[in-house]
Subunit: 181 residues, 2 copies
DNA sequence: TGAAAAAGTCAACATGACTGACATAAATTC
DNA sequence: GAATTTATGTCAGTCATGTTGACTTTTTCA
C-alpha cells in the first residue's frame, strides 16, 4: 500500500470533508498534471546517462546547446539558459576539464570564447538526443497522424509570446547549420 | 547584441568548422527543445506567485497535490513527488507552520497523518491552477480544434509506460472527488 | 585614450535534493 | 501479550545548482 497504485483503492469518503471547489478552468488541471509527469520522465532519461559519469542536469543542458550551436559565445549560452555566468562557469569548467567542451578565442573578436563540443562531447550529446527522441517518437506513434505537428504547435504556443520568435529562430538556425554541415 | 535576438544575425561560417551530424531521429530535436522552453515558462508562472511569500517550487508541488487530493497520506504524497521524507518534511513543516496545510491523524489508522489544505492553502492552490490554466487555454486556442485531446494524448504517451496507468488513475480519482464535492 | 563589452573569478549564501541513523506511536502478527 | 512492522518525524551532514556582489583582465571601439 505504499505504492502509487494505492490510489486504486476506493477513497474513504469520511476522510474527505472538503471538496476541491472546481472553477471555470478546472478541467485543465489534467493537462497541468500531465505536463508535470511527462516532463519529469522526459528529463529522467538524460539523468540516467549522466549519473554514472558524475554529471547533472546542468551539464546536460550545456552540452546539448553547445553541440547544437557549435561556436556559440558564452553570452549567447547564458541568454538561452537564463542562469548567471557564475553558475555556468562552474559547469563549463568541469566540462572543459573533462574534455567534453572546447573553448577557443573568436577570430573576429578575440574577447569572445567560442564553445565547441569535442568528439567526446558530441557523442554524449547524441546519446541525449537519441534517448529523448526515442521517447518522443514512441509517444507520437501512439497518437494520431498529425501528432507531431500538433505537439509542436502546442508546445510553441505554451512559450511566453515575447520569447516565442526567439525560440523559433534559435531552432531554425540550428537546423540550417546542421543541414549545411 | 547580448540578447537572445542576436541569433537573428547571420551565422559566421568561419567559426563553424564542425557540423552537428544529424541522425535518423535528429528532426525531433525541435520537439526536445520546445518541450524544454515550454516547461520553463510553465513553471515560471507559479514561481512569480511564490517569490513574494518566500516559498519555492517544492511548496508549489506540495500545495497543489494536497489541494487536489484532500486527506492524502504522507506516504502517498511521497510516492507522487518521488522525493525523500526528509525533503518533504521540511517543506511540509513550513506549510503547516504558516497555515497553508493542516495535518490530522487518520480515523481508521491513527498512525497516519492526513493532509488537508486550509482555506488559505486552497486559495493559493487555486491561484496556481488559474495562472497555469490560463497559459494552457491560450495555447490550445492558438492551435486547431482538437488541440486539447491531442495535447492530452501526447503528454500521457510521454510518460513511462509503467507509470501511465497510475497517473491516469490519480487524475481520475481527483476529478471524481471534485465532482462529488 | 578612455569607455564599454566579453569573459572569468572569489566569496558568501539559498534552495531543494540526498544518505544514514534513530525515535515514537500505532497497528498487526505470532 | 510480546514481537514485529508500518507510518511518520527528526537530527546531522552532504551535494548540485542556483543566486548576489565585487572585482580583474583582455580587447574592442568611439
Amino acid at each position: 500500500m505504499t505504492d502509487i497504485n494505492s490510489f486504486l483503492a476506493p477513497a474513504a469518503a469520511a476522510d474527505r470533508p472538503r471538496s476541491a471547489a472546481p472553477e471555470a478552468e478546472a478541467p485543465l488541471i489534467d493537462l497541468i498534471e500531465l505536463f508535470f509527469f511527462a516532463y519529469r520522465d522526459f528529463v529522467g532519461d538524460p539523468d540516467e546517462i549522466l549519473a554514472p559519469i558524475g554529471f547533472g542536469r546542468a551539464h546536460h543542458r550545456v552540452i546539448h546547446f553547445v553541440n547544437r550551436h557549435p561556436g556559440m559565445r558564452v553570452t549567447e549560452l547564458l541568454d538561452i539558459l537564463r542562469i548567471t555566468k557564475q553558475s555556468l562557469g562552474r559547469v563549463l569548467r568541469e566540462l572543459v576539464d573533462e574534455g567534453f567542451v572546447e573553448s577557443r578565442a573568436g577570430q573576429a573578436d578575440r574577447r569572445q570564447r567560442l564553445l565547441y563540443p569535442t568528439p567526446k562531447g558530441e557523442a554524449l550529446a547524441r546519446e541525449f538526443v537519441a534517448i529523448q527522441s526515442r521517447r518522443i517518437a514512441r509517444a507520437l506513434k501512439a497518437c494520431g497522424p498529425d501528432a507531431r505537428g500538433a505537439a509542436e504547435r502546442f508546445l510553441l504556443a505554451m512559450i511566453d509570446p515575447e520569447d516565442r520568435a526567439g525560440v523559433e529562430r534559435l531552432i531554425q538556425r540550428a537546423d540550417r547549420a546542421a543541414d549545411a554541415g
